[in-house]
Symmetry: C2
DNA sequence: CTGAATATGTCGTTTATCCAACACATTTAT
DNA sequence: ATAAATGTGTTGGATAAACGACATATTCAG
């Protein structure tokens, strides 16, 4: 439905740009990377860059979103149940993602990165909630729930990094899960 | 002079095709690689392949030529003198190249490969001979000399592989060099 | 052998990419 | 403070690459 398959040149060019950007991110900080650097590495014209991305920040967003999604998709999307196991693997995906980020240097863009992670999480939680009760009442409640879950689990990952890296992510999030799930059940019943 | 710089799309596409071909060569034998395989890996249209290459054999030739040239160029081209040192490094380049080939699987195409190596060698020797005596008399003699040198040094590499891999390439070719150089001097004087 | 499936090459039309020139910020050196 | 150099973002006209349809091998199972 509404699937107009995109030109392979578009896919290829986007891949070239994103791969080049990640390659450069290993060597330079984000603030030192220019559009010309990227397009040279990717062997494409600078104008072509702007055909695909608003600017370099737009590229950053899309690359991060995609990398995060790859971390999440493969681990979670099939197990559509929003249960303990799902929360654990989502939490692990986030901490993994942040670990891979700390190698690349994006200092000064922590806020942007945080927003991106949160937005992706919100989307995922929302989809999973929809899948779980297929009726379309409680729409608004699901949206708010997704927002709160995304902030909550993201915040947990921040706190984990700050304080508790000695504990493995699994254990850390596990202790909070009963509360999350009870909260979820409560929401489901009363709306 | 007569340098019409080629469209970057052409360079990029050729690189994509060649890289994909080498990638596939690590996994499959040459005879099992189809044009579709290559173009899929390279993310280009099959028709585009034929815009750049006659067919898959043409591609094989060009890839091998290029790999061989990379081996040779960096090692030799600057030292334009056709002396002992040059012969040794050319010989080493050939044996290196053949070693890298034996990993990739091109069984059944030894003849093609041999021809490609020889043609490249002939070209290189010819250029070096021209550089050495800038007068343009003795044209024919230089061409014949290049032919004989290319066959000779290629043949030496074949024999080395067959019999004497215990000796390092340097030593193997070194023993023949006096005769080669004397022959060269003789040719130079009498033509 | 026979047909089905897969691979090779080619061609006219459509489209993504290139180019080079432009106005405008931002940075760097004098 | 100013000039030179470098980076950003946009445009219209030129071209490589995509599409998909075609004819023709080659491979392979029944």
């Amino acid at each position: 439905m509404s699937e107009t398959k995109t030109d392979p040149r578009v896919l290829r060019t986007r891949k070239l740009i994103m791969d080049s950007f990640m390659e450069l991110s290993d060597k330079k900080e984000f603030k030192d990377i220019t559009v010309k650097d990227i397009t040279t590495e990717a062997m494409i014209n600078r104008a072509t860059f702007y055909y695909h991305f608003e600017d370099i920040y737009d590229l950053l967003e899309k690359v991060l979103s995609e990398v995060l999604l790859i971390n999440l998709d493969s681990e979670v999307y099939q197990k559509s149940e929003l249960n303990e196991e799902a929360f654990i693997s989502i939490f692990k995906a986030i901490t993994n993602f942040q670990k891979s980020l700390s190698n690349r240097c994006h200092r000064g863009y922590e806020d942007t990165i945080a927003r991106i992670i949160r937005e992706q999480l919100e989307l995922i939680f929302y989809k999973m909630l929809v899948k779980q009760h297929s009726t379309d009442d409680g729409e608004k409640a699901r949206m708010v729930t997704a927002v709160m879950l995304s902030w909550g689990i993201y915040g947990a990952s921040v706190e984990w990094r700050r304080n508790s890296q000695t504990i493995v992510p699994e254990e850390y999030i596990k202790s909070a899960i009963p509360y999350i799930l009870n909260g979820l059940n409560y929401t489901n019943k009363t709306v």
